[in-house]
Symmetry: C3
C-alpha cells in the first residue's frame, strides 16, 4: 500500500461527510512580518498594536486574509489536490480576530456534489470552518471546486446547495469591543470615512506590483498550501508555475489601501472568481467598486461592500461583449469590510 | 474627487509645516528574522539577546537600519512619491534603541524649500523624527529631495537650512546602560578594538552579494515603502525596477561585518549619496574608510566615523578625474558607530 | 595587517584545538515563520504549539534542521571558508529541543587531520556542538571537509578519527517529557504508525519544488552562513551560485512529509553526502528508504532510521554501475526520527 497522499477524487466525497484537515498551525509575529514583506499591506489596524488598541482590540490581529490562507491551505490536500478548477466562494464570514499565538485548525463539511455530463469530473461544494485553540470558530466559508473522477462508476444523486448571493449586512460579525470613536484618520492614512463612499463609485488603486516566482512560492508555502501547480515548473507543459489565487487576492487587497485605507477589517466574502491565471512577471493592478453600504450593530462602525478586481493590464473593463472576463482580469472578488462612519 | 494619493508636489511644502505620516508599525521578532534573511547581518548585539545583555541592554534591539527604514518608509507617500531624486541626508542621530514590541510613528517638519531655475521642480528639506509608543524620539534625520512642481506658479522664497557637515562626537547618544566592559570579542567575531583603527585606514570587505528582484521587493515592502519605481516593472522604459537605496545601505553595512564586526551600533548618519542606481543582477561589494575616532561619555565605548562605499564592481576608486562618482559606485555613506575601546 | 577574515587553511588546524565560533543567535517565531515560508514543512509538532503540548513538550520547538543550520552556519567562517568540498557527516545527535527565545552558540573541536597526497590540501574532521543560553548542549555532530593548504610545509601526522557508521538506537536522546499516548494521527496528516513501516520499504514522496535564487539565499543568510559560493554570481566561471547543501536537506525533509508525516522529530544524523551540486531552476524531488527501526526508552515512541534521497530528476536509482552517484542525485542522507508506535 502506498503511504503517500494521492488526494481525493470525485467519488470520495459524500454529502454530509466532515473532514478534519491536518496540520494545526500556530501563528506568530513571524507570519505577520512575512505578510508585510510579501504584500504592500498598510492597513493600520493590522500594522500597529497601538492603533488596534485605540480601536478597542487587545492587539493588532493577524491580517484577515492570512487567516483565510491558513484555514484554506489546510483544505488543499483533502479538497483540491486533484481539482481541475477552483470555481467559487460564498457565504464567507470572519467570526473572530486571530492574534499572534493562536493555533488554527480547519474542518470541512461536504454540502454538495454534482457529476459533470462528461462523466470524468464533478463539482464538490464544501463548507470550511477555521477554529482557534479554544475551539472558537474564526472563519467559515463555502467553496466549490471541479474534481477529477477516479473511475467510471455511477453518478451520485446531485445535491446543489442553495447559497446566498451575498452575506446579509445583518449577519456580519463585528469583533467584540471594536469601536472607531477615537479613530485617527491621519495615522490610518486617508481622510475618507464611510459616508464619503457612494454605491457605484469606482476607485482605481493606481499602483502596480510585478510578481516574482520566489514571492508567490514563499507565500503559498507559508500557508502550507501543497498544490503542486504552484511549485513544480515541470508540472505544466509550458513550464510555468500557476500563482496561488490567494496570492492575487492579498496583493489586490493591499494595493486597495490607496483609496480604501479605512476599509479596515474584512468581515465577509460574498463571492469571488479567479478569472484568469496569474504568472510570475505579471504586473498586478487593482480597482474597486462600491457595491453596497450598511450600518452595523456597533456604534460608529459602518460596513462597505466592495468588488475588488485585479488585472494584469491597466484597470478598465471587466467583461467582453460575450459576457466573459477579459483576458487581463485576474480576480473578481466581492467582500464586506468595516469602516469608521 | 479622487480618493487615491497622488503625492505632494513642490508647491505643497511650506517651511514650518509638520506632517504626521501614516501608518504606525509594531515591530517583532518577525521583522528581525526577515532582516537576517535579507542581509548577511552578523553584528552580535543585534543577533543575540544574551550578547546584548552582556552589553547592558535589556535585549537585542531591532537593527538600527531597520529602524531607519521603518521611519523612512512612512515618509515616502508624503515626501518622495513625486521625487525626481533623493539628494542627501544630514544630522541623523539614533536616540534610543527599538525593541521587538515597540510601535513606531514618523513625523516630518519642512525646514527648507528652493525652486530650481527651470521652474519645473524644486528641492525640499525635511527633518524627520521617529517616535516609539511612549512618545520617545528614537531617530531624527534630515533628508532633501528634488520634487516635481505641479503647476507654473511663483517660486517661494528660498529657505536653505544650514546643516552640519557631520554630527559632532559630543552630540552622539550612547544608549542608556550600554557598556563594553564584559565584551566578548570571540563571540563578536573579530579581535579588532577601537584603538586598532587608524584614521585614513581603508578596509575592503571582500564579500559580494548578487541581488535578486524578489529580495529587494520583500525588503522594501517590509518597511512599507510604497514608491512604485521599486515594484512596477512597467514604470520605466527599460523595464527595470530601481532598488530602494536603503536596501543597498543595509547590504553594504552587513557586508562590512568582515573587518568591522565590532562597530556594533550605528548612532549617527552624517551624510550619504546614492551615487548610481542598483538593479537586480548587480553584485554588491563594499569597502570602508575610517574618517574619525572619538571618545564618548560612556566608559569603554568609543565612536568611529566611517565612510561606507558600496560598488557593483570591484572595490576601488570613488570618483573620476571630473570629480564625479565612478559608474560602479552605488553608495557613499558617512556614519558614526560605537565600538569597544 | 588586514582586518578581514581570509579563513583558515589546512595548516591552521591541530588535533585537540577547540574553536569558539562567532556569532550567538537568538531564534524567535520569526525564524520559525521564515522556515515555513522557505520549505513546504508540515510536521505537526513543529507547526502547532497545541500539538506539541499534546506530545508532552512545553511548546512547538524550532525545526530540528533549523537548529542544525544555525549551529552549522556559525562554523562556516572558521571551518569551511576555504573548503574545497564538504565530505561527510557522522555521529550527529540532537540532544535537546530549541524553543523560540533560545540563544545558540557553536564550538568545534578538531578531531582529525590528514594531508592529501598532492600536498595542496587536506581533510579536517571537527566535532561541533551547539549550546543554548543555559550552556546545555542541543546538538553535536562530526563533519569533515577538504581544505586548501596555504603553503608547502610538512604534512602533520595524520589522525583519522574512528566514527560510528550510524548512531546506535540506544544512544538516541528522546526529549524529556515526549509522549505519543494522545497523538492525533488525523491532525498529524497520515495514519501510518511505527509498525506500518518495514525495513527496506521505499517511499516516493511524489511532489517537486523548483528552486529560485532568492529562496536559497534568504535561507542561507538566515542561518548566517557566509560562504561566498552561495551569494556571489561572479565567484564561479559559469556565473552560477551553488545552493547551500543544507537548503536541499531541508527541502527534501519537508517533501518527505508526504508518506512520513509521523516521522516527527529528527534525533540523529548518521551520515550524508551532497552527491551533486544544486542550482536555481532545478526541481527537487525526494524519496526515502527505511533502513532500520528500533524501540526507544520512552513509552510509545519508536525510532525509524531513514535514507533520504533528493534528486533533480525523477526518483529512481541512486548509483550507476560504477558505484558513483548518478548525476541527478543531490543528497543521500541517513538519519533517525521519532515516530508514534
Amino acid at each position: 500500500m502506498t503511504k503517500t497522499n494521492a488526494g481525493r477524487f470525485f467519488e470520495d466525497y459524500t454529502v454530509g461527510d466532515v473532514i478534519t484537515h491536518a496540520v494545526p498551525r500556530t501563528l506568530s509575529g513571524g507570519e505577520r512580518a512575512m505578510y508585510h514583506a510579501l504584500y504592500p499591506a498598510r492597513t493600520a489596524l493590522y500594522s500597529s498594536d497601538e492603533f488596534a488598541r485605540t480601536c478597542g482590540l487587545p492587539a493588532s490581529p493577524i491580517d484577515d486574509l492570512a487567516t483565510f490562507h491558513t484555514v484554506f491551505g489546510k483544505t488543499v490536500p483533502d479538497v483540491s489536490l486533484n481539482a481541475v478548477a477552483n470555481l467559487g466562494y460564498a457565504e464567507g464570514r470572519w467570526l473572530r480576530p486571530v492574534y499572534p499565538g493562536d493555533t488554527l485548525t480547519s474542518q470541512s463539511e461536504v454540502i454538495g456534489v454534482k457529476q459533470n455530463s462528461n462523466g470524468k469530473s464533478g463539482v464538490v461544494w464544501v463548507r470550511t470552518t477555521g477554529h482557534n485553540q479554544r475551539g472558537e470558530a474564526v472563519l467559515r466559508y463555502v467553496r466549490w471546486v471541479m474534481v477529477r473522477k477516479r473511475g467510471t462508476g455511477d453518478a451520485p444523486d446531485p445535491v446543489i446547495p442553495e447559497l446566498a448571493k451575498s452575506v446579509a449586512a445583518s449577519d456580519l460579525v463585528v469583533p467584540e469591543g471594536l469601536k472607531f470613536a477615537d479613530y485617527d484618520f491621519t495615522l490610518a492614512g486617508e481622510p475618507h470615512r464611510f459616508g464619503d463612499y457612494q454605491v457605484g463609485e469606482v476607485i482605481d488603486h493606481v499602483d502596480g506590483v510585478t510578481v516574482e516566482e520566489a514571492e508567490h512560492m514563499l507565500a503559498t508555502r507559508l500557508w502550507q498550501n501543497t498544490a503542486k501547480v504552484h511549485f513544480d515548473a515541470t508540472n505544466r507543459p509550458d513550464g510555468k508555475r500557476l500563482i496561488y489565487g490567494g496570492h492575487v487576492i492579498s496583493l489586490a487587497r493591499a494595493l486597495s489601501f490607496n483609496g480604501l485605507a479605512n476599509a479596515q477589517m474584512i468581515v465577509a466574502l460574498n463571492g469571488g472568481a479567479h478569472a484568469n491565471p496569474c504568472f510570475a512577471g505579471d504586473t498586478v493592478r487593482a480597482w474597486s467598486e462600491v457595491l453596497d453600504v450598511a450600518e452595523t450593530s456597533a456604534h460608529g462602525v459602518g460596513a462597505i461592500r466592495l468588488r475588488l478586481v485585479a488585472t494584469k493590464g491597466s484597470a478598465g473593463a471587466l467583461r467582453g461583449e460575450d459576457g466573459k472576463y477579459l483576458p487581463d482580469v485576474l480576480l473578481d472578488l466581492d467582500y464586506w469590510a468595516l469602516m469608521p462612519v
